[in-house]
Each structure stands twice: as structure tokens, then as C-alpha cells.
Symmetry: C2
Subunit: 400 residues, 2 copies
């Protein structure tokens, strides 16, 4: 596979592993398994319980390895996976006809089905770790089922196991080119989907009707719907508003806080439209919120403290029109998870690095009236901010 299709930031991972003196790191959550190997294990993504892992050794300590159920080997064979070793567990019946197989995917799957089998996920993982002879291992503790971390400790008594979910979240914070390409595409899909939703915005159209048009565009563009907060009027102030039968009325604010998943990568953007002319207050407040996002984006560059970005955004919104503006954060990282590091808060000591992808946002809610929000996706580049957005955050007025 093309080297540039790798999602994992290997250099960053290896630097952290050296710092923490880890022989290996084991991914266990769906996000981290896909991130570290390219392998998307369907059962793990749609339910809690099914287990798949990636064992990633430090440089010079051997080859990386996928541990997964026999029933998912077809996905290993069919996907752009850059980890070649695979260890399987569990039984799954599928008859093989190697002489008929023309597709290399079938051929690879037939080979994988001939590899040795383990009884269960943990036994396969223990075998992988034991065979490699690691003595100090970081385990992404979040994807394990209750009790499994302790079981691993019992079965690996001479090995030091340390939690590594935080480490992997940190590694994921700085994106590779392939990740940024996917994030740019999913941001674009979200913008196209907002546009499609606004096409059906007319007197009497419901929130659900806009949501249908929104998601229809998302699936047309080969993304999966995830976040679809679309609210009219008073409902636009509901922070997680789920589309209802509420019908559009003249003067309504329409708030979108939305984004799907494209090749596993998430979008999270926000835009405001009004149905007919907005009030002066809505226009002024929206302009203040937009100014806050723009100010944050001016400041963003490697070496800047996220707390300073937070302060500048809040201060700008206050100065530009909402004197009482308050927020806990003005954004967050985004990637294969919808909330990657860093979080743009007042109390964070994190510092921006080139390659981070951020959602920068200044939401504002007046319960009983309306909610306004601007949220853009941007990349931290050596010389400043690269917006991933094709549209501005300007207030859009739909003719009523």
C-alpha cells in the first residue's frame, strides 16, 4: 500500500515510547486499532464487547501484529492495512475454494484462515506478547472489557503493564497527511450537507425534513451520519437538539452542529442560518461569535498555548458584542475520534503543534430564544492556520 496512506504518526509514537521506556504499545479501542493498523474491525465499531488489538513494538523490538477474531479476517484481507502479521482467535466456518479464487482478497483471506488459531482474544494477545518477550508494555486500557486488564496482569506476571490510552490520545493529536486529507474531505461533506439541507428550508418544512436532506447528501458522499443537531427557533438553543417535527417559521434561527464519518474520520462543524431577516441582536451576536473564532484562528500556530487561544477568543466575543459571554472551551482536536486532544480551555497547559487539527467554536445559547454557533475545522501549520472549510462562518439568510 502507498506509504502516504498510513494514519499512524509513527515518529510521535516512537518518541513517546522511548520517553516512557515501553517495549510495545497495545491498541484496544476501535479508534486506536484502526489508527495504528488501518484495520477497521466492524463488530468492535458497532458494539461493545468484540475485541481486536494491535501490538506495536518499539523500533528494533520486532514486527507489529494484529490480533482479531477469525470472523473478521476478511476485513484484514480487504482493507489498506499496513500491519502484516495477524494472529486470530475463535472459530468461524467458511469453505475455501483456492483454485477458483481470482480476487487477491479471497486469496489473502484463504491464507489468513490457515494461520494458527487461539481460543479467545486474551489468549491470542498473551501469546503475541509472550512470544515477543516484551518486559514493559503500554496497554490502551479503555477498549478492554471489565476485568481483562487484571487478567492480563495475572497471565503476564513478569511483565510490567501500564495504561496507555492517554499516550495514544496524545500521539493522535498530531495528524499525518492522510488523516488531514480525510478530515478535509469529511469537513467538505458536512458543508455540502448543510447546503443540501438549506435547499429544503421553506415555510412549514420540519427539522426532520432538513435532517433527511442533510444525511442524504452525507451518504451520497460515502460518509456515515453521526452528528446531526439541527434546530429551529427556540429549539436552536437546545445544545444537542435532535431534529423534530417543529416546522420552520419566518424569523427562525436555524442552528446546525453537524458532521459525519468518512473513511473513519469525523467532522464537527457549526453554521447558522435564519429564515428571513435576522433581528439586529442575532446579527450582532453572531458577528461577535464569528469574530471570536476568527481571532482564535489568527493566533493559532505551533508553540502557542491553547489557554491563550481560549482567552483571546472569549475576550473578542465579549468585546465585539456579548459582554457576558462564558464558555468552558472554545474547541477541541478532531480526528478518528470526535474529541481528540487538545481541548482549548482556560486551564490547559497544552501547547499547539504543527499538524494538529482543531474544531474552533464559540457556541452561545439563550434558552427560550435561540442558539448561535460558529465552528470551523482548521489545521495548525508552521506559519499559522489552514482552514479546512470551503464556506465562511457568515450568517446565512434564507429567503422566507
Amino acid at each position: 500500500m502507498p506509504r502516504n496512506a498510513v494514519l499512524l504518526n509513527k515518529d510521535r509514537l516512537h518518541a513517546w515510547m522511548a520517553e516512557l521506556q515501553l517495549d510495545a504499545v497495545v491498541a484496544t479501542t476501535p479508534e486506536n486499532v484502526t489508527y495504528m493498523s488501518g484495520f477497521w474491525a466492524l463488530p468492535q465499531w458497532i458494539r461493545r464487547g468484540p475485541q481486536a488489538y494491535v501490538v506495536w513494538p518499539a523500533p528494533g523490538k520486532g514486527d507489529a501484529e494484529i490480533v482479531t477474531s477469525t470472523a473478521t479476517l476478511d476485513l484484514v484481507a480487504d482493507q489498506q492495512v499496513w500491519v502484516e502479521r495477524v494472529r486470530r482467535y475463535g472459530a468461524f466456518h467458511a469453505d475455501g475454494y483456492p483454485d477458483d479464487a481470482k480476487d487477491p482478497v479471497s486469496q489473502r483471506l484463504l491464507q489468513l484462515q490457515e494461520t494458527p488459531n487461539h481460543d479467545d482474544a486474551l489468549s491470542a494477545l498473551v501469546a503475541a506478547l509472550t512470544d515477543a518477550g516484551f518486559t514493559r508494555i503500554g496497554i490502551d486500557e479503555v477498549g478492554l472489557m471489565p476485568g481483562q486488564f487484571d487478567m492480563l496482569k495475572e497471565r503476564l506476571p513478569d511483565t510490567s503493564l501500564v495504561p496507555a490510552a492517554g499516550l495514544l490520545r496524545n500521539v493522535r493529536a498530531v495528524k499525518t497527511p492522510e488523516e488531514i486529507a480525510r478530515l478535509a474531505r469529511v469537513a467538505e461533506i458536512a458543508e455540502r450537507s448543510i447546503k443540501a439541507a438549506l435547499v429544503v428550508a421553506r415555510e412549514g418544512a420540519s427539522e426532520v425534513e432538513l435532517a433527511r436532506a442533510f444525511h442524504a447528501q452525507t451518504v451520497q458522499d460515502d460518509a456515515f451520519p453521526v452528528l446531526g443537531c439541527i434546530g429551529f427557533g427556540e429549539r436552536s438553543a437546545l445544545m444537542n437538539v435532535q431534529p423534530s417535527s417543529r416546522k420552520l417559521e419566518k424569523g427562525d434561527v436555524i442552528r446546525f452542529d453537524v458532521g459525519g464519518r468518512y473513511r473513519h474520520y469525523r467532522a464537527d462543524i457549526a453554521r447558522i442560518a435564519t429564515f428571513g431577516e435576522p433581528t439586529k441582536e442575532v446579527r450582532r451576536y453572531h458577528r461577535a461569535l464569528l469574530a471570536g473564532v476568527e481571532r482564535a484562528c489568527e493566533l493559532i500556530r505551533p508553540g502557542v498555548r491553547v489557554a491563550d487561544v481560549f482567552e483571546a477568543a472569549i475576550e473578542t466575543v465579549r468585546r465585539e458584542g456579548i459582554g457576558h459571554y462564558r464558555r468552558n472551551h472554545v474547541g477541541h482536536g478532531i480526528g478518528i475520534d470526535g474529541y481528540d486532544a487538545p481541548s482549548l480551555t482556560a486551564t490547559s497547559d497544552e501547547v499547539l503543534e504543527a499538524g494538529m487539527v482543531l474544531c474552533v467554536e464559540t457556541p452561545y445559547y439563550e434558552l427560550g430564544r435561540w442558539g448561535l454557533q460558529v465552528e470551523d475545522m482548521v489545521v495548525v501549520r508552521p506559519d499559522g492556520t489552514e482552514r479546512l472549510m470551503a464556506t465562511s462562518g457568515d450568517l446565512m439568510v434564507v429567503a422566507s
Copy 2:
């Protein structure tokens, strides 16, 4: 809210709580929180980490209570939630204009925001459990983050805490009328989506093109895409086949193993089409697989052992044309989770009960050739099987 809209099988839960002498049960996974309260906490459903709970006391031990973050109270206010007490944690800024609020949802949210606040999820949960004075509590251990179960034990030293994920899975196995109504609708949506996909099946159409048409119908019917395995020809034998650019050719088998999520409830059905006339072997094998599902459905009724259903299905497929047929299971429960209890295996000692909803399936894969599968959703009724399907499992021949 209408009493019949409750998802939770209260009688079954209370019977199990009495059996296990539990004062209360605490739901922690997204599925169990929604199931026990009607409350769908968005952040918990789309990521791992955000916490929401439902505390459900035994009869006579007080009122049920939702524990959730301040940032999600709008969803409590807006949804058909049958648990009235709410305990919140964490800060979230939203200004209130009670005099302007016309929507009861805004009014309810304004009230909820005035309730006392706790520092974090676990503190709120500990307060709820302490205030109620429970001495023996079942905790759905799967939704907690690593270490939280032990932290709860430390903070509730005089309380006995026992894992309860298995108990809740068992409770969920027997569906309420509202659950069955949702499952019937989502099954219908999956069938409609297959039909929509087959409309675009023509020479040179890709798997991805069929998937787009499939998901477009799903979102048009207000469901969310989840499972979308659609494969042509040799790729139909890949058990989890994800749509690719592979183009449809004359003679191809088209396998669908699909289903979305409608009002939180899952579909999982399978159908086979061929593009042009199938070979005799495909027709005979498909007929054998269909006969297996039909035989299982004839047997299904309360009191029957699932192992007997398994044996009958396998035996029928073998007798009707695939002498070497092997499977680990011939189906599973379905509900708010895609794999509810029971699992239809040879080794299970589970017995069918009225109100269970099952996916009955006989997949068969010839790697290098094609995969065939029939999967129906059915309800166990006192007098036998009620199919939730509008279509038969017959092989569909698309004119090539």
C-alpha cells in the same frame, strides 16, 4: 408520556432483582441507559468516555433517577423519558430567558438547570446511591471507564456492589410492545433499502453505488446506517464485505447483510439476489439455506430450547442440499443492541420465551466463489413465530 412507549421490561427486571436480592440496578452503557429511561445521551452514544447512568430501585425502594452531565439536560427535557428524577454534574453555560420560553422543552430544561450540581459523574452517582441508602446494588459494569468500578467500591464501603451487565442483557431479551414496534419498523426499513439498492443494480454498477442507494433509503426513512455489507460475486463470500468499486457482472451473486438503527433499535437481515440467472448450485444451496431458516421458524415457540432450534436448522440445511454445512450459531436476539440474548447455538441451555425477538440466519460462504445467506427477524409469540418481514427470503433474480 404514553405508558406503552416504555422500552424497559419492568416486570422482568423486578423479578430478577428480587431473585438476586438487589436494592437497585445502575445502567451505565448507552444501550442500557436508553433502555431503562428513554434517555438517549448523545455524547455517550458516539464516543467512549462520556458518562450517563440510570439508577433503578427495586419496587418500594424509592424513585428511579437519571445521572447525566449538565451539557445533556436538553435531551432529557426533549425526549420521551419516563424517569422523572434527574441528577446532573459538570458545568455548562447557557443563559436562560424563562419569560420568553414558549416551548415546554425550554421550560423543562430551565428547571433542570436549577437543580443542584455535582463535580463529576461518579460523585453524582455516589450521592444518588448514598441518599437512597441502598445496601446491595447491581452495577452494569461495561459502561464504566477503567478503574471506576473500584472507585465506586471505595466510595461506598458499606455497600455490596455486584456486576449486572449480564442481568440487564437477560432482562432485555424479552421485548415490550414498544420495542417490537420499533424493531418491526427498522426491519421494514432494511427491506425497503434493499429494494432501493436493487433498483440501481445494472451491468457496471459498483457495490458502492448500491450502498449509496441503500443508505439513502435508510436515512429517508429516518433511520441511521449501521450495517451495510453488500458484496458482488467472489466478494459476496467475504463475511463482513464492505462496499467497494467492484462492478456488477452477469451471473454475480449479490449478498446483503444489512440493517440500520431506528429510534435506537437495530435491524440485521440478509437477502440474496443474482444478476442474471443463478447457477443450479447457487439456486439449490440457497433453497437449502432458506429451508433451514423456515424449519427454525416452525419450531420457535416459548419453552423450546435454542439448542434444538440450532440442531433442526443445521440438519435441514444438510438434508436439503449442503451436506457439509457447519455453523457456530443460527441466529441471535436483537433489540437496542445488535446482538441481544439469546444466541442460537448448539451448546446453549437457554429456552425461548414469548416476546423474544430473534434474527434467524443460515449464512454459507464459499471463499473464492460466493456467499449465500438468509436472515429474518421474528418475534417469539405464544403460539409460534411472527415474522417481522414483509418479503420472503427467496432468491431474487435481477434481469441482466
